[in-house]
């Protein structure tokens, strides 16, 4: 097994869970907060958290443009929940001034299921992963529409899109990492 060096964008959110998941796959993990740290990684995970907070911190610390450029030039990226929002071409209901880094030709809706009382756990399937995967949806977004080159890799029984892949960029609405499940991280590593 090649020991890949994978970054976790560590501005805010459930960084620790992603670090643990990646380490369980034998990866060397770098917590990325600054542009020079981004240059060291072969792939990047954007964790769950508050997408507004993560974007504002990225702006303040000069990370937005380096992230946009890296993603546009083919850096493999996995975004979960807030990370999915930050990868979307369009956020349908942004907080004031909130933008994204791009990478996925999709539009997303934040907090699409409602407030925390509507957060839930379920099991679902993801293309490329055998068997079902436990998924926690926590004030989760959904993918409202996808462009032609986007592959839908996971949906809820209602048909709502909760997982997409475009080239080397993967976005999911939910959190497998809080169960210690690293199979979606393996999908990311497979794109390297």
């Amino acid at each position: 097994m090649v020991n890949h060096t994978i970054g976790v964008l560590a501005l805010q959110g459930d960084v620790r869970e992603h670090v643990v998941a990646l380490e369980s796959l034998g990866c060397k993990v770098i917590e990325v907060r600054k542009p020079d740290e981004l240059e060291l990684v072969e792939a990047l995970v954007i964790p769950g958290g508050e997408s507004t907070t993560i974007f504002k911190l990225a702006e303040v610390f000069g990370m937005t443009e380096p992230l946009r450029k890296s993603i546009a030039s083919g850096l493999p990226v996995l975004g979960t929940c807030a990370g999915l929002i930050l990868l979307a071409r369009e956020i349908l209901d942004p907080a004031s001034g909130q933008q994204s880094f791009g990478g996925l030709d999709i539009s997303v809706r934040r907090n699409a299921f409602g407030n925390q009382n509507d957060s839930f756990e379920t099991e679902l399937s993801v293309s490329g992963i055998e068997g079902s995967i436990k998924a926690a949806f926590i004030r989760a977004p959904i993918v409202d529409s996808v462009g032609e080159s986007v592959e839908v890799i996971s949906t809820l029984p209602s048909g709502q899109i909760v997982g997409v892949k475009q080239g080397k960029v993967i976005g999911i609405s939910f959190h497998p990492e809080i169960y210690g499940d690293a199979r979606v991280h393996q999908l990311l590593i497979d794109t390297i």
């Binding site: 508050e50 907070t53 907090n111 407030n115 926590i138």
Partner: protein, 298 residues
């Protein structure tokens, strides 16, 4: 839209939201305008309340759950999670907050307790709870009652970080000493901590609490926030420290930066510049013991 809602309110979903708030700042706000300022400054959540602790302390009287209209106003003003406080043991205030659709309920010593013996049975609620603690036993009792997040109490409304320091040192120190014990010592440890044996064993084995722990009570500057993070907090609540300061916008942003870059003195130095007046504050030592909020809850 009918999506599956089978497993709402599970312990993992409740604890999970707190996991997503890690590395963030939760700010006390008393109006929708303040909530917007907090969101713009990069807060991961806001705590909606009628008076910040500094005013509760100054004005005295019984402090209760906020007016539902005010909470509704704050919920509609922002897209980040909204928390609100219920009195210790006041399960009906908590029922009302759940009905309003807040994202987290803080069973808080900052309000006047409604029950001097029992806390709320938090397992009965879909909405998750955060509770204060001054030591490990207290934290574990709250977790047993269903708290999905813990905050070290500090002394709210003072701008004096010394009690926050004492409580986080106590909690983390007690965890370290538990982790060093042999298995046959954990029975007595559970007795001394006044906490369930199984939970004590779990903490001894993992060396950490099973839920996220933020710190609160007296954080007023970026340096205070970074101090708490370097001590091992997962994030920070700032109560009176932002909106009782000279320039809440600048101070809010600076504290958010400090929590992310808590280990980078260069960033902390620049974040500490040009913030105007900090809240005036009161030294905890000057507050007579009966007026200390951290002593509420047991």
């Amino acid at each position: 839209m009918n999506e599956p809602k089978s497993n709402t309110g599970s312990p993992l979903v409740k604890r999970g939201l707190a996991e997503m708030l890690k590395g963030g700042v939760i700010m006390d706000v008393v109006t929708p305008d303040q909530a917007k300022i907090a969101e713009d400054a990069g807060a991961v959540a806001v705590m909606a309340l009628e008076r910040v602790p500094a005013d509760i302390r100054a004005q005295g009287g019984v402090a209760r759950m906020s007016d539902p209209d005010m909470i509704d106003g704050i919920i509609s003003a922002v897209s980040i999670p909204v928390m609100a406080k219920a009195r210790i043991g006041h399960f009906v205030e908590a029922q009302i907050l759940q009905s309003l659709g807040v994202d987290y309920i803080d069973e808080s010593e900052v309000l006047s307790p409604a029950d001097y013996v029992n806390h709320i049975d938090k397992t009965k609620f879909t909405t998750p709870f955060v509770c204060g603690a001054t030591n490990l036993g207290e934290a574990l009792r709250r977790i047993t009652e269903g708290a999905a997040m813990v905050r070290s109490k500090g002394e709210a409304g003072t701008g004096d970080v010394s009690e926050a320091m004492k409580h986080i040192r106590t909690i983390l120190g007690e965890i370290r000493s538990l982790a060093a014990k042999s298995e046959d010592e954990l029975y007595v440890a559970a007795k001394e901590l006044q906490a369930p044996y199984d939970l004590v064993c779990e903490v001894a084995r993992t060396g950490k609490l099973p839920v996220v722990m933020f710190t609160a009570g007296g954080v007023a500057t970026p340096a205070d926030a970074a101090l708490m993070m370097q001590m091992g907090a997962d994030g920070v609540f700032v109560g009176s420290g932002i909106f009782k300061s000279g320039d809440p916008v600048a101070r809010g942003k600076a504290i958010v930066k400090a929590v992310t870059f808590f280990n980078d003195p260069d960033v902390l130095a620049s974040a500490s510049r040009g913030l105007g007046e900090a809240m005036v504050g009161i030294n905890v030592k000057d507050i007579p013991a009966p007026h200390r909020l951290a002593d509420r809850g047991w």
